[in-house]
């Protein structure tokens, strides 16, 4: 194939394209990666994956669906309670409490889906080989890590917040049917929305740290499930005060103390719970950042 005819008929001659490097006259005026450029790159990477968009959409669907189901269940429950005159008053009060938490009732699934998304966004860099391209473009590595963390956390927060709000909009007329009031503008509703959205963003950050540390999708998601779903149950089943006490410090048990209107017995104080969740995010993220910087890609 090295005959002159083959070369001259080759449709991809490099010469013409290189003869006019118009875009690169001012090489010095166009430096390399800034944080905002890297962030822009991570946003392009994020939105150009169909699987990511599907996970975000399923989060919204599940959240809104559970909000509606929960509103309906709460209504049925209150209905049944009012027919029993003895327990009526007490149940009605509880029904009111349940109503306010209807929009956030799907949060366990949101944390699972978006936490897994956090794992996948980093682990897939390594499993597909994309990491070599990413860290060749940003050899200092940490800006790319930070940019991805920002994208993961902001998206998780936004998707959760919007889903909770829409779930609330759907729950209000259903609850209204049963004569229950849900005021989405109340401070307790706003607090639930904010705390739960921050919590899911935190879980996504933990997921991303696990994905960075393990570089393996299945391993990262299993670890996440272990921390958020298996450990709480296991700690409850193991007899002894140590595990009963330790259970309070699991990240999944930090939301209720912060979000509840009053202190819930057998949980941490709100400020303690906030700090514990913060530690659950900061420690794995720092560890992941340090190891990402040191390890071979």
């Amino acid at each position: 194939m090295s005959s002159p005819t083959a070369e001259s008929t080759s449709p991809h001659e490099p010469a013409p394209s290189f003869s006019a490097p118009v875009h690169f006259g001012g090489r010095r005026s166009q430096p390399g990666p800034t944080f905002f450029r890297v962030l822009n790159s991570e946003i392009i990477k994020f939105r150009s994956l169909l699987s990511t968009l599907i996970l975000l959409a399923s989060t919204a669907v599940v959240m809104v669906g559970f909000g509606a189901l929960s509103a309906w269940g709460t209504g049925q429950f209150t209905d049944a309670a009012t027919r029993d005159p003895q327990a009526g008053g007490r149940m009605a009060a509880q029904g009111g409490d349940l109503a306010v938490s209807a929009p956030t009732s799907g949060i366990a699934f949101a944390q699972l889906i978006l936490g897994s998304l956090g794992v996948l966004l980093m682990s897939s860099e390594f499993t597909t080989g994309m990491a070599r391209s990413t860290f060749a473009a940003v050899p200092k590595r940490l800006p790319a890590f930070a940019a991805k963390l920002v994208v993961v956390m902001v998206t998780s927060f936004a998707v959760t917040a919007v889903s909770i709000w829409v779930a609330g909009m759907v729950a209000v007329p259903i609850l209204d049917n049963y004569g229950l009031k849900l005021d989405l503008g109340s401070s307790q509703s706003a607090k639930l929305l904010l705390v739960n959205s921050i919590y899911v963003a935190a879980v996504a950050a933990i997921g991303m740290a696990l994905g960075t540390l393990l570089r393996n999708s299945a391993g990262g998601i299993m670890s996440l499930v272990g921390i958020f779903f298996v450990a709480p149950i296991a700690f409850q089943l193991i007899p002894g005060d140590f595990f009963k006490e330790a259970r309070k410090y699991l990240p999944g048990n930090t939301v209720d103390p912060v979000a509840a209107a009053q202190h819930v017995p057998d949980t941490l104080e709100a400020w303690q719970a906030g700090l514990v969740l913060g530690a659950w995010v900061v420690i794995p993220v720092l560890l992941a950042a340090v190891l990402l910087k040191r390890r071979d890609v």
């Binding site: 090295s2 991809h12 001659e13 290189f18 875009h23 390399g32 080989g129 994309m130 060749a136 050899p139």
Partner: protein, 307 residues
């Protein structure tokens, strides 16, 4: 210019690269040749700052890769045709890479055109053939219009038209004064593309010379002689300092003497010779010769395997 100095990489008990030093100069195509597992890819990953050297250092244009302000504008690399997220389209992959350096969209379209990817640019990179993957990797390497190009096995999986295209491209880029560092395990490919050759085997540099020197250096005056008095002739030739192999009963392979000298010697001593052939080693043979002791995975011949 790429300068490696005592570059070493040890993975656990295995030494992948054992203290290599070399210089890759601008304005020519430098081939990086070695059998599989010789340490080529590891060396290239260390140049790109992806793997940390156990010891030693490597710089591109005087700075470590990570120290460059705009690395993609300095060095373009094809390290692995599959260094792409499989579910992302080629266009979005290039767009995301370009975004890190503020490289305009127009340049993304330009490299897509240059590499002939227009038809598949919107398709998922995971569905690409090896050849298309190589073109995408080359497109990514060209994005920043870099002065230095590092291409790991770029012709792997390309069709003949693609091989010619890569050959022309790298020759063209080197002709513009750029540094081109190209690895391959195929000697024949190097013979047609490279000006200078660095041969590596088991993590060590075996040869570092212009390609012409490597061909002639190894093929120096080897002569095949057939005679019916091999023992007599062998003693005569050995007395003149030649080294002699006897592959067949009446055949000698003589290194270190010219054909004419051998003929004269035979005539003087009344030894009948019925073949006298100067052997010029092809680059392939020269390569085999250079690396025969340094190949990590020897293949057994069918006969040996049968035992």
């Amino acid at each position: 210019m790429i300068e490696a100095n005592g570059l070493t990489k040890i993975y656990g008990a295995k030494t992948a690269v054992a203290g290599v030093s070399f210089t890759v100069r601008a304005g020519q195509v430098t081939g990086f040749l070695g059998p599989n597992g010789a340490g080529k890819s590891t060396t290239m990953r260390m140049i790109m700052g992806l793997d940390r050297p156990t010891s030693g250092s490597v710089t591109v244009n005087g700075l470590r890769y990570a120290q460059h302000k705009a690395p993609l504008r300095e060095v373009g690399a094809l390290l692995d045709a599959k260094a792409v997220h499989t579910s992302r389209s080629a266009y979005n992959h290039l767009l995301a890479m370009a975004a890190t350096h503020g490289i305009p969209k127009a340049r993304v379209h330009e490299v897509i055109g240059m590499t002939g990817l227009d038809a598949v640019a919107r398709k998922k990179a995971g569905g690409f053939s090896l050849g298309m993957g190589q073109r995408l990797g080359i497109a990514a390497a060209l994005l920043g219009d870099p002065q230095t190009l590092i291409l790991d096995e770029p012709v792997n999986g390309l069709d003949p038209e693609g091989v010619v295209w890569v050959r022309n491209l790298v020759r063209y880029l080197a002709g513009q004064g750029r540094t081109v560092f190209l690895s391959s395990h195929l000697m024949s490919e190097m013979a047609q593309t490279a000006d200078h050759l660095i041969v590596i085997g088991r993590g060590r540099v075996i040869a570092d010379a212009p390609i012409r020197d490597i061909i002639t250096g190894s093929g120096q005056s080897r002569v095949r002689v057939r005679t019916d008095q091999p023992d007599t002739l062998r003693q005569l030739l050995a007395a003149r300092g030649a080294s002699i192999e006897v592959p067949e009963p009446e055949m000698l392979e003589v290194t270190g003497l010219q054909a004419k000298t051998i003929a004269a010697l035979a005539l003087e001593n009344q030894v009948l010779i019925y073949e006298l052939t100067p052997l010029v080693a092809s680059l392939e043979e020269a390569y085999m010769e250079l690396t025969k002791d340094d190949v990590e995975y020897h293949s057994l011949s069918a006969a040996e395997a049968g035992n």
